[in-house]
């Protein structure tokens, strides 16, 4: 692999993460449909996770699984495991938030029969 392409693809990871953040916040604010807001929120949260994982990468490194036998060798040979561990937690937080958000949405829909914020506001009054 030529170095140029790796640099390009590497920097693109950050830029795509930022682009996804922008997309997510746009949907979160602009969409009037609450389900779409949830989808926007999911994209926003995954973009943050993408950013964290990107800080863990090292070219020419392998998975952070150290062979049982022998010494571990230099750290540069393995991906940085800390962001991985953190992002596992962040994914759990994501699905937990999704569960509660959907519970609220399902109850709102049962009572007022809509996912549209405007309809709900009308019917709530």
């Amino acid at each position: 692999m030529s170095l140029d392409l790796s640099v390009l693809a590497g920097e693109a990871v950050y830029l795509v993460a930022f682009g996804l953040l922008a997309l997510g916040i746009f949907a979160l604010i602009a969409h009037g449909n609450l389900m779409k807001k949830v989808i926007g929120l999911t994209i926003f949260q995954t973009a943050v996770i993408l950013f964290f994982v990107a800080t863990s990468a090292k070219w020419q490194a392998t998975l952070p699984i150290v062979p049982e036998a022998g010494a571990a060798g230099p750290a540069a040979g393995y991906m940085n495991p800390l962001p991985h561990a953190l992002m596992l937690t962040a994914i759990v937080v994501m699905v937990a938030t999704l569960g509660v958000a959907l519970a609220l949405l399902v109850r709102l829909h049962r009572r007022y029969g809509s996912f549209e914020e405007d309809d709900l506001l009308d019917r709530v009054e």
């Binding site: 790796s6 640099v7 390009l8 693809a9 590497g10 920097e11 830029l15 795509v16 930022f18 682009g19 996804l20 953040l21 922008a22 997309l23 997510g24 746009f26 979160l28 604010i29 602009a30 969409h31 009037g32 389900m35 779409k36 989808i39 999911t42 994209i43 995954t46 993408l50 994982v53 990107a54 800080t55 863990s56 990468a57 090292k58 070219w59 490194a61 060798g73 750290a75 991906m79 495991p81 800390l82 962001p83 991985h84 561990a85 992002m87 596992l88 937690t89 994914i91 759990v92 994501m94 699905v95 937990a96 999704l98 569960g99 509660v100 399902v106 109850r107 829909h109 029969g113 996912f115």
Partner: protein
């Protein structure tokens, strides 16, 4: 890490995110979101974050999609207006956030640089001494379960709180 695979996954992920948000039908939006999660998990596997990829595949592409589908299952209102209501406010917020982040981007450490601060500080100990100190060859398990076990305890509390919350919210009481 393969640069080609990275670039490919990034492009597809971005496309799928746009598609999920632009879809005029909630059912297709949810399905596309599941595909987006799957591509992300591929991306993270390509970056060597296998544990994150595994979790994203089971949770993001799996459970989350199922939960979203169940919530949609019995509703008839699946069509959504393609044109969002508060478009200009959304554009302004997105543009501001993107502008600020792009402005700061040049000061980020180079992607994949083994000498960047996160790769030089704190984490080397996990890799070099983790197996000897925690007995776990999978260093991510060592960090998750031992070095930062407190986070993981609270993570378990997070999912329990969510279950308890759903239990409270979706009980048989009227409302």
């Amino acid at each position: 890490m393969s640069a080609v695979l990275l670039a490919l996954c990034l492009a597809i992920a971005l496309l799928l995110a746009v598609a999920a948000l632009a879809a005029g039908n909630l059912l297709s939006a949810v399905i596309v979101l599941g595909a987006y999660s799957l591509v992300l998990s591929l991306l993270w596997a390509a970056m060597g974050a296998v544990d994150v990829a595994f979790t994203e595949a089971t949770v993001g592409a799996g459970i989350s999609t199922v939960l979203l589908l169940v919530a949609l299952l019995h509703t008839s209102a699946r069509r959504v207006a393609p044109v969002p209501v508060a478009r200009w406010l959304g554009v302004a917020a997105a543009a501001l956030l993107a502008a600020v982040l792009f402005w700061a981007a040049p000061d980020l450490p180079r992607f994949g640089d083994p000498a960047s601060a996160p790769n030089r500080h704190v984490s080397p100990r996990y890799l070099e001494a983790g197996l000897a100190e925690t007995g776990a060859p999978n260093i991510v398990t060592g960090v998750l379960g031992d070095y930062r076990g407190y986070d993981t305890l609270i993570e378990t509390v997070v999912i329990f709180t969510a279950a308890l919350g759903c239990w409270m919210l979706l009980s048989r009481r009227p409302g």
